[in-house]
């Protein structure tokens, strides 16, 4: 079989020194909405060289995805594209369908955001890769299979034979994304478009996929266009960056230029809004050098940092930890879990599933406890059990002084307890009733609890809208008329309506753009200080916890593996899992991220 690409490592060319692969000139995209053209991207100009990663960053609606899909003609039919896109000197736009089809998958491959849905569920991974290979190369089925297996091996799937025969749903999210990358690379593309390739993944899996993409870039010498909203991912991978806002590229530059010397106001605002680990939180306002903390805790020796410098940073860190005031908690705990196990009850033939085991946790009045962990770690389960949505299988759970572990489902006791507990949900769009004006959504808990009626209820609703900084006349609007951030403010107002002693917030900002997230978090923080409720803040994002939480609990596979004050966890993480988790969070700073990456590599090699 002839090799259509060589997989042997070739020396990586210096970034930006290769030939120009993609040249985009005056690219504009419009969408037809209600018989009007609404611009999504306006006059974009950029080029990408072989072996180079260009990151296009921006928030939702900035046109970063639409403009990149336009390169391959993958937009829906209600769109219009103009300008010029040249791939290796050949024009892609305006040609006939057959031309662009020959380019798709062969010269330009795409990695999509959702590995869950981007692969066809009814065909095996192998069949889908073989389909791509045979489409663009005249090879026999056996040769195609052989090649597909090598691609699966190349993307470091542990058992390529097995992955080949698996259906997408039989693989984990990270494995699926690897399979997706294998498919994209199977025809040796000159250009790879990665559309939010790690957004749907856990942070440790994200770090693995980013490592993989970096390795592949060095091996294959493809040009990569990386579309993302995550500045940490950008810092980890990008050579050059284009910042997009409302359809325009507002700034382009090398990664170093953009991160250290941003020119445009929006770029500055975007960088400032990115919450990053160690940036300071409720308890202390000084930055935590997580890299140094990890190095100290694991006795790692970094090449990227001089020994003396590292020691100095470790000493600073230790001093800050010692100085951190450990305030004695006051009063009775608002939420107290003692050896709690939580089960999802058995449903039909599906046996009961124990999602949490032996959890011990206490939240005192006015305290914010961050519960972090990856998908499936049981963090949301604890949040749900705390408001009585899931039964406690073993141990005792006290909420606002009441033991609810034996409470009947939907019984009187839970009903009573819920008056003192507010909950903010993850998806602001689906957790508000679309047919209720938001004023009614906010007022409903108070009406049902009988605390306010008529004019008193109305004035309380207005007060709550003031608190979450929404105009009072928004009370008559419907959820679809609000932006994501505004909807989440409504969610917070509703949770606050009964003046809860305990607030359970389940990933309240993970569906929001960074700049919106920053504002909602700030609001949340202010309200918490002002009203003094205790809070269980469930999230996968360590940086968010860092901003808000007094204490942090780290969960893994249904167990709380480590807990402590924010400083204890960030400055002196003891559990290997916590260390791995911290090391996987990318920093929005290319140099610091390089240090972090080296540290992570050492941690992983030490672990294995």
């Amino acid at each position: 079989m002839t090799d259509f690409i060589t997989l042997d490592p070739v020396p990586a060319p210096a970034p930006g020194k290769g030939d120009t692969v993609l040249e985009v000139r005056d690219l504009s995209v419009d969408f037809g909405v209600d018989k009007k053209w609404v611009p999504a991207a306006i006059g974009l100009n950029y080029e990408v060289r072989a072996g180079e990663v260009l990151a296009i960053v921006g928030e939702s609606g900035s046109g970063k995805s639409a403009s990149s899909m336009a390169l391959l003609g993958l937009l829906p039919t209600n769109s219009r594209v103009s300008g010029s896109v040249k791939l290796g000197g050949k024009e892609l736009l305006g040609g006939n369908e057959a031309n662009i089809r020959a380019v798709r998958g062969k010269d330009v491959a795409v990695i999509f955001q959702e590995p869950m849905t981007a692969l066809n569920p009814v065909y095996t991974v192998g069949a889908q890769i073989v389909e791509t290979i045979r489409l663009h190369n005249e090879v026999s089925p056996d040769q195609a299979k052989e090649r597909a297996l090598r691609m699966l091996d190349l993307v470091e799937l542990p058992d390529p034979e097995k992955a080949f025969k698996s259906y997408p749903h039989q693989l984990s999210g990270g494995q699926r994304q690897r399979a997706m990358i294998a498919q994209s690379l199977s025809c040796d593309p000159k250009l790879l478009i990665a559309d939010e390739p790690t957004t749907a993944l856990d942070v440790t899996v994200q770090a693995e996929i980013l490592d993989l993409m970096r390795n592949l870039r060095n091996k294959l010498d493809s040009a990569i266009v990386l579309i993302t909203h995550d500045m940490g991912v950008v810092a980890d991978l990008a050579d050059r960056i284009a910042v997009m806002r409302r359809g325009l590229i507002v700034e382009t530059g090398t990664a170093g230029e953009i991160f250290h010397n941003p020119q445009h106001e929006y770029t500055k605002a975007l960088l400032a809004a990115v919450p990053h680990l160690g940036q300071g939180g409720a308890a202390s306002d000084d930055d935590v050098d997580v890299t140094a903390a990890l190095a100290a805790a694991t006795h790692a020796d970094l090449e990227a940092v001089p020994r003396s410098e590292l020691l100095r940073r470790e000493r600073e860190n230790a001093a800050a930890l010692a100085a951190a005031d450990t305030v004695k908690p006051q009063g009775e705990p608002v939420l107290e879990l003692t050896d709690v196990a939580i089960e999802y009850p058995k449903q039909g033939r599906v046996p009961a599933f124990r999602a949490v085991e032996g959890a011990n946790l206490a939240i005192y009045p006015g305290q914010v406890v961050g519960l972090v962990g990856e998908s499936g770690s049981g963090k949301t389960t604890i949040g749900r059990a705390a408001v009585g949505l899931l039964p406690v299988a073993a141990g005792t759970m006290k909420v606002v002084g009441q033991d609810i572990s034996a409470a009947k489902r939907n019984g009187r006791q839970l009903h009573e307890m819920r008056r003192h507990v507010g909950m903010v949900f993850q998806d602001p769009s689906s957790s508000l009733n679309p047919r209720l004006p938001i004023g009614e959504s906010i007022g409903e808990p108070m009406f049902l609890a009988g605390v306010a009626k008529g004019a008193a209820l109305q004035s309380r609703i207005e007060e709550l809208l003031d608190q979450v900084e929404l105009p009072r006349d928004y009370r008559n609007r419907y959820p679809h008329e609000l932006s994501g951030g505004q909807k989440q403010r409504v969610g917070i107002a509703r949770a606050l309506s009964l003046k809860p002693k305990l607030m359970v917030a389940d990933e309240p900002t993970s569906a929001l753009d960074v700049s919106v997230q920053a504002k909602v978090l700030e609001l949340f923080q202010n309200l918490q200080k002002e009203l003094g409720f205790a809070c269980l803040f469930v999230t996968h994002d360590l940086a968010v916890v860092d901003v808000l939480a007094d204490r942090i609990c780290v969960m893994q596979r249904g167990r709380i593996v480590e807990q402590g004050t924010r400083d204890q966890i960030l400055r002196n993480p003891q559990e290997p899992y916590t260390q791995r988790l911290l090391a996987a969070v990318p920093l929005p700073d290319p140099e610091k991220q390089r240090e972090r990456r080296e540290l992570r590599a050492q941690l992983l090699s030490g672990a294995s």
């Binding site: 993958l74 491959a109 849905t117 981007a118 791509t132 489409l135 749903h169 997706m180």
Partner: protein, 309 residues
């Protein structure tokens, strides 16, 4: 998988007992004396009537009648109908005819429903789509006997393209027109179901992936959209086979098809308990088995579905 199929077959036992008991009770409760009705306008000969009542166990209470009937089934003797013919022979005569009719109707609605639905879905909002949608609404809206008589008259009598009535042999050719009439209603549903499903799958991420791989539009549709879109359609078709078998009474009446529907109608009006129960029970069994087949087909089409015993 084997245990799953076995379990499903074991489920047939309670379904069988329940169905026979219920139907037997319903026929038993029908008003009027079937034996008296047999004499028609002629005076009733009490001696003959008594003999007939004994022969058909009509002099026994309900439970005895039912148990005797069950005993007959397990000894492979379904009894006789009122004209003295073995019921087993009657079943053997009418079921093949209706099965032929139902399968033809099913093929008609599946083939045309899926093709039309697919094209309409792919051209959502265009002329073809709008036309087909309105047409299907009309078909769903008009009662089947109106459609039946209409087609029988226009296509069968006036144009002479197909035979307006069915011969006693009920050949495939005879049954073309009745099958179309029988399948028309479901055809409209299959069409709409396919269309909705195609539209939903066209916007799926994996279809975009398939396009991004460089596949031709035709291959994207055939390999990636169609198979995913057929999953709900197959469910409907499977359930519909049973409905077509049992629901052919009107169509069979219009075209005078010597099938299950006609015979069942006669048996009900004459109060022939054993005949009614036998026919209905076979229909119920066909229904259950076709549902099982659908479930197995479902697992084959969608690998995410696995049946653990």
């Amino acid at each position: 998988m084997a245990t799953y199929i076995l379990k499903r077959f074991l489920q047939l036992i309670p379904v069988f007992l329940g169905a026979t008991l219920l139907v037997y009770f319903l026929v038993f409760s029908l008003p009027g004396d079937p034996i008296v009705a047999l004499f028609g306008d002629k005076p009733v000969n009490e001696a003959v009537a008594a003999r007939l009542r004994e022969q058909y166990h009509l002099d026994q209470p309900f439970w005895i009648q039912y148990l005797l009937y069950l005993k007959g089934i397990f000894t492979f003797d379904l009894g006789q109908d009122f004209s003295g013919r073995p019921i087993a022979a009657v079943l053997g005569e009418v079921f093949p005819v209706t099965a032929r009719l139902a399968v033809m109707a099913l093929i008609f609605e599946a083939v045309f429903g899926i093709i039309f639905g697919l094209i309409a879905g792919l051209r959502k909002g265009k002329f073809f789509d709008a036309t087909v949608l309105i047409a299907s609404l009309i078909v769903i809206g008009i009662p089947i006997f109106v459609l039946g008589f209409l087609l029988q008259f226009t296509i069968g009598v006036q144009l002479g393209w197909a035979k307006p009535t069915v011969s006693s042999a009920a050949t495939v050719q005879d049954l073309i027109l009745p099958a179309i009439v029988l399948g028309l209603g479901s055809f409209a549903y299959v069409l709409r179901l396919t269309r909705t499903s195609v539209i939903e799958n066209m916007n799926a991420d994996y279809v975009r992936t398939a396009t991004a791989k460089g596949l031709s539009r035709f291959r994207v549709v055939r390999v990636h959209i169609l198979r995913n879109s057929l999953i709900p359609v197959i469910t409907f078709l499977g359930a519909d086979l049973g409905a077509l078998m049992g629901g052919a009474i009107v169509t069979e009446g219009i075209f005078n098809v010597p099938g299950v529907g006609n015979r069942l109608y006669r048996a009900v009006t004459q109060g022939e308990g054993p005949t009614v129960v036998s026919i209905v029970t076979v229909l119920v069994l066909i229904y259950v088995v076709s549902n099982l087949l659908v479930d197995l087909l479902y697992a084959w089409l969608d690998p995410r579905i696995r049946y653990d015993a």
